[in-house]
């Protein structure tokens, strides 16, 4: 089959039409400011509808919407977002976490900050909730398995934690260590992965304002199956990079040995940026199924590079993303 490219500069712009970067960025800023009003309006309307699908099962979390970091996509229903999960500590089926996670005790909870920091310390949940103003942000979530959701998270930029931790010059990476307690988590007995589940980010990734220290979703505290009481959300990477139920945040010199990367290094790289141009060995990543929308008789939607979060592209300039997948 021959697909003809129309030479009209729409699919592939003519070089002469490509805006110089500075002009483009300036324009972006202006448009952003213009657009914020409209986005805020839409988002407020979304919030008004929130009551329709948040269950009211968990305590409410007051948060101010951050429109600059909120996707306009239609949000996934609370039901789908809380019953269709990968959380292997509670089993490997998508329905396992919502069925089994009631045994997790999200309170009391402490997170210890350690490693290459001036002075290690711990934070309990109340301290975490008060550390910075809570924001609501609507992020796209793309799973490495080829499905996606759109979720309104509650939290603040992880950079707030970094500021408080005062990492030393040796800190090149951040490692997230999650809970692995057989008593609370029936899946930890399995040998599917090495426990505890460990994830990590390069320092500049961790510092990026999009990286969200997350304490809630849909205006409430996190349900257990979604990583209560505290998780990380990294929206431009595949979902497994967003570790759940975090107990330790370590600032380290060397690249963390992350759970999926150790399990299958050829399939799950350390970076795992959402990238339609880099296939998973066993399936293409060029498209995705949006849960609740793309179903029967509809083509899958095209996956966007960095999940549509182009702001992060500069973190990887000069890196071969096929090699560092």
């Amino acid at each position: 089959m021959l697909i003809r490219q129309s030479p009209n500069g729409l699919d592939r712009p003519f070089p002469s039409e490509i805006t110089p970067r500075e002009v483009f960025e300036d324009r972006r800023r202006f448009i952003k400011q213009l657009g914020l009003g409209a986005i805020a309006g839409t988002a407020l309307w979304e919030m008004a509808n929130r009551e329709a699908f948040a269950q009211g099962v968990n305590p409410k979390l007051a948060a101010k919407l951050n429109p600059a970091y909120s996707a306009m996509d239609k949000q996934t229903t609370y039901k789908d977002a809380t019953t269709y999960n990968n959380f292997y500590e509670f089993g490997t089926d998508k329905s396992d976490p919502s069925e089994n996670a009631h045994t997790l005790k999200p309170r009391p909870w402490t997170v210890s900050i350690e490693g290459e920091v001036k002075k290690p310390f711990t934070l309990d949940l109340d301290a975490l909730l008060k550390l910075a103003p809570l924001e609501e942000r609507v992020y796209r979530l793309r799973c490495v398995e080829g499905w996606s959701m759109v979720i309104p998270w509650v939290g603040y930029s992880f950079s707030e934690i970094i500021k408080k931790a005062e990492p030393t010059g040796n800190a090149k990476y951040v490692e997230f260590v999650t809970l692995a307690d057989r008593k609370q988590m029936p899946g930890v007995g399995s040998r599917v992965l090495n426990w505890p589940y460990v994830e990590g980010l390069r320092m500049d990734e961790a510092n990026h304002p999009l990286t969200l220290l997350t304490l809630g979703m849909y205006g409430e505290t996190l349900p257990n199956q979604n990583g209560a009481p505290v998780r990380i959300v990294v929206p431009w990477k595949y979902g497994f990079k967003s570790a759940k139920s975090i107990v330790k945040i370590r600032f380290v010199k060397d690249q963390p040995r992350t759970a999926w990367n150790m399990a299958a290094p050829s399939e799950y790289g350390f970076y795992s940026n959402v990238n339609p141009e880099v296939d998973h060995p066993r399936w293409s990543q060029a498209s995705e199924r949006r849960i609740g929308e793309d179903g029967f008789l509809s083509r899958k939607r095209k996956t966007l590079k960095f999940n549509g979060y182009n702001d992060v592209a500069s973190l990887y300039s000069g890196m071969d993303l096929k090699k560092f997948f």
Partner: protein, 207 residues
């Protein structure tokens, strides 16, 4: 004294087996129509794949069951069971062509050639086709019993290929419980035949 049904009873057993074998399909249709599935195509792919393997195992179990129980009549169910393996296999393949490639055959070929686990599954499905086509009495006569029998021994290759396909699909997820179960069942069913053909115990082995 082995149970030996009358023709009427056998008819009833066949009808019951047919209805039971359609249950997984009915369940899928029901779930889809009720929009009870979060990721329908993913679920259908998994379910149809699982049931293809189940029916391959059940079909392979007929001969050992007959020999161990002396219920010769179970042989009369074998054709139907084998055709159900093909039926679920065809659904599985259609779902793959549909939801992974939206009926873009060129794209499908790329995928089949590029990914070993799909290559293996595809070969297994293609090998099932001649068995389904030659399942009628007329076809047995046309081929002649001996040649027909040899052709249908392809199932000894198809079943392990199906297990391998499932194994590779699951391998990176380190979640090999189910593939291992199928591997044990298929290995046991084939090993019995090897052992019987070596020992020549009882009647000569027929597929």
């Amino acid at each position: 004294m082995a149970f030996n049904p009358t023709p009427r009873q056998l008819g009833a057993i066949k009808a019951a087996a047919f209805a039971l074998a359609l249950l997984p399909f009915a369940k899928l249709v029901w779930l889809v129509l009720n929009e009870a599935l979060v990721e329908p195509l993913q679920y259908i792919t998994r379910a149809t794949g699982d049931w293809t393997l189940y029916f391959l195992c059940i079909t392979l179990a007929v001969t050992p069951l007959r020999r161990l129980s002396k219920w010769n009549w179970v042989l009369k169910l074998r054709r139907m069971l084998g055709l159900f393996a093909f039926f679920y296999g065809a659904l599985h393949f259609t779902t793959f062509l549909w939801f992974d490639h939206f009926f873009d055959v060129q794209e499908m070929w790329k995928d089949v050639l590029k990914r070993p686990f799909i290559t293996v599954g595809f070969i297994a499905f293609v090998l099932l086709i001649p068995l389904a086509v030659t399942s009628t009495n007329a076809m047995v006569r046309r081929l002649g019993g001996k040649r027909w029998l040899w052709l249908h021994r392809l199932i000894y290759l198809i079943a392990p290929l199906g297990v391998l396909h499932f194994w590779w699909m699951k391998s990176a997820k380190h979640d090999l419980g189910q593939p291992l179960l199928f591997l044990v069942i298929v290995t046991a069913l084939l090993a019995l035949r090897v052992w019987w053909s070596r020992t020549r115990a009882g009647a000569p082995v027929r597929a």
